[in-house]
Amino acid sequence: MISENTDLERLVEDFPHVEEKAIVNFINGFEVISDHLREKRKVIEKGYTARFVDGLTGSTAKRQERIDSGIEGSLSFLKDYVVANEKRLARNESFLNDVMEGVSLISGRLQGVSEDVGEIRISLDQLAETVATMEEMVSQRLNYHDLYNSAMAEKDLALSIFSKEGGVFSPEQSLWMLLTRLKYGDFGSWIESGEGNAKHMQTADAVMKKLKNDCLDIMSNLTGRSPNALIDRASLYATLSSDDQLLKDALCLVSDQESNLLDPVIFAVNSDMPPQSDNDMPFVFSNISIYDELSRIFEVGGRHVATQ
């Protein structure tokens, strides 16, 4: 330790008034010496007789003794003070050396810390990038899940509507409207959102298969035909192009979904003009083939059979 507990320091610690008394004696001692010197000077100025009487009575010697003892006390105090001060200076110098050593040590440590801080800064930048990427991924996932949920809700709602019996539309019309709605709604968006994603493709494939089965079941219920029972194309088209005004309005509504592919069909239905028939008309359909044809709308570049 730097602190040096000397006997004197311990003494002062135990008896603080000792130091105080020494200081008061030192400073006030000069007053006493001055007083005696003034008196001595006065006697000298008074002349020989006064000096003789003072000498005879011993006052001169006594006063000189007071002056001398005062000076001795002062010098003794000064000696102690100088010695104590020198010790203190030496201690302070030692302290300063320690401080310098500490400063150089701290300087070295600070350089090391500075390098560490640089590395930490780079790591933090990388971490920030990773966090941003993760944030984006999470956001994408959340969006995908939202879209998936919406798509499934939409599908379920469409199927529930489709399954209702006694509607104003024929089952084929209802299926056509269901698939068209799904294609251009959140369901279609969801199918396209995971393009190239194997997991999504797998899920979408499973959903589409289930959709097909659900639709075929409903179709069979509504038409009373088994999935493989055949009908000709003309009959099918007749059911599609009925004069029902509601259907026309619905098709117009579907047209507002920016589906240019449907425009010719809609035009044909609205003008009661059957689309141009290919040479292979009449074409024979079954529930399965109707679904397959109509569901081609979900394929990239795919269209309804009516627009081909």
């Binding site: 400073i27 006493v32 009575t57 401080v99 701290i106």
Partner: protein, 345 residues
């Protein structure tokens, strides 16, 4: 063992120069320096009675200034005509009265046994001055009727061996032939009113000038007469150290170049206020109650107190600051050393 930071105030004797102490007390009041115990001799005992009975040092300073202004307006020196006449008659009887007259003059003091105290001054030791002005001041300002109140207050008194003998002993002391016997000290606070008055009058009773006071059957004169070669009685510090256990004492002298030596009291911190030239006409100063001189001494007391106390206060403050600074440096160094150890690990 002294009590820490208990301040005592010693007021030495010096007759009319006591005005100087009014200035000293005014400076103490200005600085808020409140003593806890007082000791006085001669005129210092009269000043001390005012300081000790005041509620605080500020009130003491105001009262003392008022008293000394009164004293400067009306000199307290009042010749006692009857006592002087009595002295002349006794001298006449001794010189011209034949054997019977001489016998009467020699044995007049035996009448003390039959006459009341107030007549003793006419048949005992000669007296020139009437002490009624001092009595009047004490009655009005010293609150003598209050018992066991005020600051602890001691006065020095000198047991008389007869006025002439006492004066001779004092002169021998001054010539360093033989020191006078020591004065004794009386604690005033617990005394009844009359005894307080007697003790205070005794403490300031210069032989031949004022009559001695009889306390417990003994005659006492001015406390300043005792231990005269080194002002033992005139600078009554002893009761403040031995009885009041003061750790710090301010001593006010009224004499140029006093031989009083503080080194004889090593256990107390003593600050002396020595007049920077108070003497004007030697012993006559003690009886000089002229207004302009009184005012000058009061002002000198104030200035001398300031010039004595200020450097000591500044010095102590500087040393305390230095010690504090060093202590902080050592503490910082210690902390730095600990930090270095930690860094090295």
């Amino acid at each position: 063992m002294s009590q820490p930071n208990k301040l005592g105030l010693v007021l030495s004797g010096g007759g009319a120069k006591g005005a100087y102490q009014a200035g000293v007390v005014r400076y103490l009041a200005e600085q808020g320096i409140q003593p806890a115990a007082i000791a006085g001799a001669s005129i210092g005992s009269l000043n001390g009675s005012v300081v000790a009975s005041s509620d605080n040092i500020v009130e003491a300073a105001k009262t003392l200034t008022k008293v000394w202004n009164e004293v400067s307006d009306n000199s307290p020196l009042k010749m006692d005509g009857l006592a002087f006449l009595s002295l002349i008659i006794r001298i006449g009887l001794a010189g011209f009265g034949g054997p019977a007259g001489r016998a009467a003059a020699m044995n007049a003091k035996h009448l003390e046994h039959v006459l009341p105290d107030k007549y003793h001054k006419y048949i005992g030791d000669p007296v020139f001055f009437d002490n009624s002005p001092s009595v009047d001041i004490l009655n009005r300002y010293a609150k003598l009727e209050e018992r066991d109140s005020g600051l602890p207050f001691w006065v020095s008194v000198y047991e008389s061996d007869g006025a002439i003998k006492d004066l001779m002993a004092f002169i021998k002391s001054g010539l360093n032939i033989k020191d006078s016997k020591s004065s004794s000290f009386v604690r005033i606070n617990s005394l009844p009113e009359d005894e307080k008055r007697k003790a205070l009058l005794a403490s300031s009773a210069i032989p031949l000038a004022y009559e001695a006071q009889r306390i417990d059957g003994k005659k006492y004169y001015d406390g300043g007469l005792g231990g005269a070669s080194e002002a033992q009685g005139n600078t009554p510090i002893t009761p403040l150290i031995e009885h009041e256990k003061c750790s710090h004492i301010i001593v006010t002298h009224l004499q140029d170049g006093s031989f009083w030596d503080r080194n004889k009291f090593p256990d107390s911190t003593i600050l002396e206020i020595r007049p920077r030239g108070i003497a004007r006409n030697g012993l006559l100063d003690m009886l000089t109650f002229e207004k302009d001189v009184i005012i000058k001494w009061m002002e000198q007391g104030y200035q001398d107190a300031k010039e004595s106390i200020e450097p000591v206060a500044d010095g102590l403050a500087a040393f305390r600051m230095s010690n504090k600074s060093q202590a902080e440096l050592v503490k910082t160094a210690s902390n730095m050393a600990d930090s270095l150890q930690w860094l090295k690990k």
